[in-house]
Symmetry: C2
Subunit: 912 residues, 2 copies
């Protein structure tokens, strides 16, 4: 959200500081000059610190040098506006007054941190320098003041190291990639005979400071003793980092202008490790896993932030309630007043930012300081509960709560997942083709999966690749793993349709069908052999293959799901349909809220073992008559398929796509199957092999498929249309309300659709006469070729609806085969030649440009042309926003993504 | 030309005849009502007859019923305007007066023909009924009048047959496809014991008339004895035929409106077979083969038009000059007065129509009649000579002469062709992949071609398909024949580039490499086996494969070629370049007038036997270093290639496309080659095989190729750019003027081009520094993906030029693989789902729409962006007109098509 807001302000631009302009914004309590609304001027960090301070949250005092100073710095030959020095000194005095210590004071020195902060978070810039203000004199003051010489020298050592590295440029050697500071530290520990950094005493650390300074001097630098020189050095370093190559590259990638500049934040240091009245901790304002309204986090008494992360000591809980279960005392029990203050700050921050917060805090000598707050990451379950609770608590409206939801986070609620934190013994990786988690025994032959299933065993089907004849084994397996194929391989497409966990293209796998085993190389390089019957676990969301039986999290719809979905459906404009090929899929899709089927692929129906032989006979027969005979066997089965789907989805519309893939996809490869077909056709096997070979194509994606089959072999579509209309009539006679939509794929020329529509209408009319009943049906086309978009006006003359097939449209627009793209697309994404995978998120400029053109031209002929999408982008939230903007009537996606799509569609409507 | 003119008048529309409107236009000499300008009203035939008549050409008198009467007929419930009957009778009386005979007169009957004639020639309508006016009475009058009863009854028999078939609908039986009139005729000949129709005497023909009438009566019809009933029946039949299904289908295909209507022409019959003062003949006003200005044709004394065609008697020449060589008396000698009149008519017609005419004439009893004139078909050689002569004779301007030329007709002048009329023993057909004619001995192995070539033998290389390693054999062969592959297969592309005769995809061929023979099925179904060493002839323009040594026509540029090309180049706006990959091709292209190279494909350079091993090493190496080592071997060879081409084309620009095809195209398939590569890489053969397999792609057209290779394997393009610039610098240092243009293929994303351009510029700058000389070079891209057109503005930011790769743009826009399209594209063309093959003629609406968009958007960023085309459409005249309209700067085509492209470009400029 915040990124989006910021981007809308790009146009405002940025300025060089004027003579009268305020250059430094102080923050501490009500004395704060800034606020969140000054994000462009103060950067994200500076404006947030000011906002928290204004709210009365205890934030260590500090100040922010504006982004305009950064612009001045670059425009004025790397010098600062004259008044800056004065304003910085004024502000520092204010800090000194508030903290009660003085910068550079030998007795009671003020230490500060210096941080960069542009209007958006940006990698590549200088991050943080801590403990600034220490030198050989003030370190002794800190030691006395804190009563902890070791603490003081460790702080000093860290400053010299950070300053030497970041400001003076004395860091890692590029040639050897070794860190000279770490080398000196290791040597020191070795000479003192200790193992941990913490075992070094003050004297050793003091020696180390000297050695660090020596190192810097050897490399031509000099650590400045003067705290003011330190400060100006650090400020300059932040400004310099704005134009360093990594930051520039990052900005270029995102199109952020150099004129934004970065701010610099200077803030008093606080310490949680100055005694037992000190502490440090992190917490969430609600439970990030369940969403329960309770502080949830951990802290350590007398410790630094690092220590919590390092895990050397066991952290203590925040609340007394938690301490009951852990046996450890909680912050609430140990520092009840601080706890009260913290709880109250949490409440205020949550109300103010209207979201569950992730907070860092430090207690220094009994005084609470909040160092950071931000929206907290949470599970899908927690996301729903928090949204409903926040609305119920009137912290925000239902609509606002809805806009905060992250659609993708629903995914975890719908599919099984492995328990958090279980040990994953990963033996191979592949492409995450269909999400979910599956555990089962390895089986190589589909027929054995079916057998095992009958015995009640869970199995994972492992194949080089799958093909139509494996369909029944795929249905019965818990998960599918293949060694070859991409995200649109047979296994991937079929598994996604079934919502079944699937990992494809795991190229390390070497499968030996005869020995019934596969071997693979682990990450370490060791070879593992897995035999049939061994148990493996598959993670379809990460592509990981693991040895053994990983524990599955018990997943259940949280009660808030339905509540949220009510909001969603009330807000949403576009209809959400599902891509489903079977009555089972259709039923599941309805459970998830689908309002129709946007894509029913009839080819999957051709793969069943009861009909694949007839399909092959049909394809390999010569002459329309022989094909018609074979099709006659298929007709009643297809009719039953359609009856099942239309019934399951009644009264919603069901879009049935006529046969699309090239016919060779249905043909047998193995001798046994070829013989079977040869026998059925009464032909020699060699002749069948010859015909199979003749049908192969160089580029099947661009070959004899879709409407081209319909044109050249009219009998195929004839039988399919007949099956659809016969099925619909039968249901209508039973009183079932049906709305079939017949969809013709791959149309690129108006004449194709004109001809095929005419043929389909003739058959439909004939069937309705035969059956004595009229049903409502429509005929439309998939728009999945660039040409179809360009001449959409001509195509619309023959179409009741357009369904954009964005998968193929992306392939043809980019000239990019999804199956082959894995050789270079990952590289493109890594190198930022492409920001997102266009098969995941619709490419707005190229493919989107054609979609816009297609809609505009289509509607110029038919004002009320129905517009939908049935490519996989129909389930992607970012793409869904685009479809909303283009005025689509509906989107369609796989059943498991229907709730995600509903939420994303609602958010898009609200945004629009 | 005429079709084009007519189409511009579509908008005028047509009308129903008004009450006062003239319905019938008489024609005969200066008494003619019509003229050529009334084509829409009188149809093409009617207006031409009127025009000729007005000129004073002797045309048998007649009249035309207007197209508006046709419209009235349909709009008034198939009735005629009241006045029509009167006007027809009036006109017929005029004919009677002029001819001196009367319609239906028993002594001296007038006979007429009835013909249809719409504003454009249109199949499907009624054609002609002759001899109308004959019945049982008038036939006797004709017999007496002509003194030839056999002639009279044969004319009558033909009338009854035509009338029965066309007007009364008694024709072929649909069930048996037999012609009942022919059956009766055959039976009559059998019963009379004669063989030829002409052997039947008047009595037999009279019997036949009776039998024909009987047949018509049996089928429910009745031949009308009344000539007026005959006439109105025939007129009605013409109007009815306007809406018959074939005519309607044809109009729909071309978008001709039904409202155009057809005219009806009624004309007095003349006969050339009424005695020795009669004759009939056909002639061209100039020699259609050489263009010489002399009447050229043949005639028969006392004969009908049919007799000339039937070839029973040897025709006589027209001029005395010709008769010298043939020994036969000429028309000039036999009928000097008629000849004078004919020659004068020819001269008038030629001047009037400003073109060589193809004329039909008949002499009836010493009187000359011209029955038809039209522009005559001619050879390419004659076309040029006639154009130059007509301009020199001031019959037209040079510009007009230029516009009359047919660009495609130049093709025959450039390639060898077989002699006209040689007997073709066709044993197989394939796709005409590269035009020309070739004769040679069949050889199956490329290495044997090279050997035979050393011995001076001509060979035809016959392969299942060719691959890169066959290149040297292909160079040495006279022609190439493959059993597999399409118009863009390796063999086709390479052969076209070399201008070598090639036939591909001759699927009947079954090649047995071990037996060194192929077998095929002849058209009759008989199997032929051809052994190595047997001589075959290939016709690359028709795709025919013939047994034996067919005679080649000696072809030579006619002297008029250069003259015409001077006109062409003066008129032309667009530059014409050639697609050429070698210095030899570049030289040939220059000879044909190329002004640069628009596409130099560097992949063909990788195929040479001196480097293919290094190329394979490069591809199969792992890691950039190993690839660089292999590339280092290729660099000097590539540099030499570029030096050769740049020198041959100096000072014109040479566009060099960096490597485009997927790398697997270069990889070996055969064990021997795999072993060779394995040895060079010091790897086991199995590992090489594995790597080769890994590189295979599902859809290579949409795979890892073009700029995608450049992105992922930078070292390949680096070496290529270095080779180009090093070569260019070397030539520049010699004082040779060079203009290399580096072209990056398959760009779809601006970042691709930005990155690759940057890399290329870096190398170019570096090389120029090394060489101490600056050369002029530019960097641009092929626009061959729909996405590139849509976001052309972004791409143009990094491009000096756009070269539209219309081959791939057509493939991706249509989603159509050219290699696979032969399964359905012929069917589409046959069924008129597509009017033209989009790979031959650029698709104006779809692909053209994207091209327009690409130019518009590209120029919005770079006003002077250079625009070219390098797809094969660059050599197609119709496409060239489109490129002219879009403001292309240049077109590029194969060297042999350069003259055609120059002419077409000039015509397009003149039209624009």
């Amino acid at each position: 959200m915040i990124e989006g807001e910021v981007l809308t302000t790009i146009a405002e631009g940025s300025h060089v500081a004027t003579e009268s302009e305020k250059l430094v914004y102080f923050f501490s309590g009500p004395r704060s000059d800034g606020s969140q609304s000054l994000r462009n001027l103060l950067g994200g960090k500076g404006s947030a610190l000011a906002e928290m301070s204004s709210l009365g949250i205890p934030v260590p005092p500090g100040f922010t040098i504006t982004t305009n100073v950064c612009n001045s710095y670059y425009n004025l030959g790397k010098t600062y506006p004259e008044r800056l020095d004065f304003e910085v000194r004024e502000s520092l005095i204010e800090i000194e007054d508030l903290v009660g210590s003085r910068f550079g004071d030998s007795e009671n020195p003020l230490l500060v941190s210096v941080r960069s902060g542009a209007r958006v978070s940006m990698p590549g810039m200088m991050d943080t320098i801590l403990n600034l203000g220490l030198n050989d004199v003030t370190v002794e003051g800190l030691a006395k003041q804190s009563g902890d010489a070791r603490f003081a020298y460790d702080s000093y050592r860290r400053l010299v190291q950070m300053y030497g590295d970041v400001v003076l440029g004395v860091g890692k050697r590029e040639d050897t990639d070794t860190d000279p500071y770490e080398e000196l530290l290791e040597a020191k520990k070795h000479s003192r005979g200790v193992v941990n950094d913490t075992d070094l005493d003050a004297a050793a650390l003091k020696e180390l400071v000297g050695e660090y300074k020596e190192l810097i001097r050897d490399r031509g630098g000099e650590f400045p003793e003067d705290p003011w020189v330190q400060l100006w050095g650090a400020i300059g370093s932040v400004f310099e980092s704005w134009e360093n190559p990594r930051a520039v590259f990052y900005r270029d990638q995102y199109g952020y202008p150099s004129s934004w500049g970065t701010a610099v934040n200077v803030q008093a240091m606080v310490f949680g490790n100055l005694g037992d009245d000190c502490a440090t901790g992190v917490l969430f304002t609600r439970n990030p896993s369940t969403g329960e309204r309770q502080l949830f986090g951990e802290c350590l008494i007398n410790a630094q932030g690092e220590d919590v992360v390092a895990g050397i000591r066991t952290p203590q809980p925040i609340t007394a309630a938690e301490s009951d279960s852990s046996g450890l005392l909680s912050l609430e029990e140990m520092m009840p007043e601080v706890y009260e203050e913290l709880a109250s700050a949490c409440d205020r921050l949550e109300r103010h930012f209207q979201d569950m917060q992730d907070i860092e805090f430090t207690v220094q000598q009994g005084k609470l300081w909040i160092l950071q707050t931000r929206s907290g990451k949470r599970s899908g379950r927690a996301m729903l509960k928090i949204a409903v609770d926040l609305a119920d608590e009137h912290l925000m409206t239902e609509r606002e709560a809805l806009m905060r939801l992250e659609p993708e986070q629903l995914e975890g609620l719908l599919h099984p997942v492995f328990e958090d934190g279980v040990d994953r013994h990963v033996i191979a990786k592949g492409l995450p083709a269909s999400p979910g988690a599956a555990v089962g025994r390895v089986v190589f032959r589909p027929v054995d999966v079916v057998e095992a299933s009958k015995r009640g065993e869970s199995t994972i089907l492992v194949r080089d690749e799958t093909s139509p004849e494996d369909i029944e084994g795929m249905v019965d397996a818990r998960g599918i793993l293949t060694a070859r194929g991409g995200m649109t391989s047979h296994a991937a497409v079929v598994a996604r349709g079934m919502g079944k966990c699937c990992v494809v293209g795991s190229t390390q796998l070497q499968i030996d069908y005869t020995k019934r085993q596969f071997s693979t190389l682990e990450e370490g390089g060791e070879s593992v052999t897995v035999r049939e019957g061994d148990i493996i676990s598959l993670d379809g969301s990460t592509g990981e293959v693991m040895l053994g039986d990983l524990a599955l999290a018990t997943s259940q719809f949280p009660p808030e799901f339905n509540r949220v979905m009510e909001w969603v459906d009330a807000a949403r404009r576009m209809k959400v349909r599902a891509n489903a090929d079977t009555p089972e899929d259709a039923k599941r899709a309805r459970e998830f809220g689908a309002e129709g089927i946007g894509l029913c692929r009839t080819e999957h129906m051709f793969f069943g073992s009861d009909r694949i032989l007839a399909v092959r006979q049909m394809i390999l027969s010569e002459g329309a008559e022989a094909r018609r005979d074979a099709l006659a066997k298929i007709l009643p089965m297809q009719r039953d398929d359609f009856i099942g789907i239309l019934r399951a989805m009644s009264p919603y519309p069901v879009t049935i796509r006529l046969l699309d893939p090239p016919l060779h996809e249905f043909l047998p490869n193995e001798a046994e199957e070829i013989n079977e077909v040869a026998a059925a056709l009464e032909l020699p096997s060699a002749e069948v092999t010859r015909r199979v070979d003749l049908l192969r194509e160089q580029n099947p994606m661009l070959g004899h498929r879709g409407v081209r089959l319909g044109v050249t072999s009219p009998e195929i579509y004839e039988v399919q249309v007949r099956a659809v209309i016969e099925g619909a009539c039968e249901l209508a006679n039973e009183g079932v309300d049906v709305t079939p939509e017949i969809m013709i794929p791959l149309v690129g020329m108006p004449e194709e659709l004109r001809l095929l529509r005419e043929r389909a209408v003739n058959i439909a009319e004939q069937v309705m006469r035969e059956q004595g009943i009229d049903i409502d049906y429509s005929i439309g086309t998939m728009i999945e070729l660039p040409r179809a978009c360009v001449i959409a006006n001509q195509i619309a003359e023959h179409a009741d609806f357009f369904s954009f097939g964005t998968n193929d449209l992306t392939q043809t627009t980019f000239g990019l085969s999804r199956d082959d793209a894995n050789r270079f697309l990952p590289f493109y994404l890594e190198q930022h030649l492409l920001e997102v995978d266009p098969f995941v998120q619709v490419d707005r400029e190229g493919v989107g440009g054609l979609i816009k053109l297609g809609i505009e031209r289509g509607k110029s002929v038919r004002e009320h042309l129905k517009i939908g999408v049935c490519g996989e982008h129909g389930g992607d939230p970012v793409s869904i926003e685009f479809f909303e903007q283009q005025g689509f009537d509906y989107i369609s996606c796989s059943p498991y993504r229907v709730p995600i799509a509903r939420l994303a569609a609602a958010q898009s409507t609200l945004k629009a």
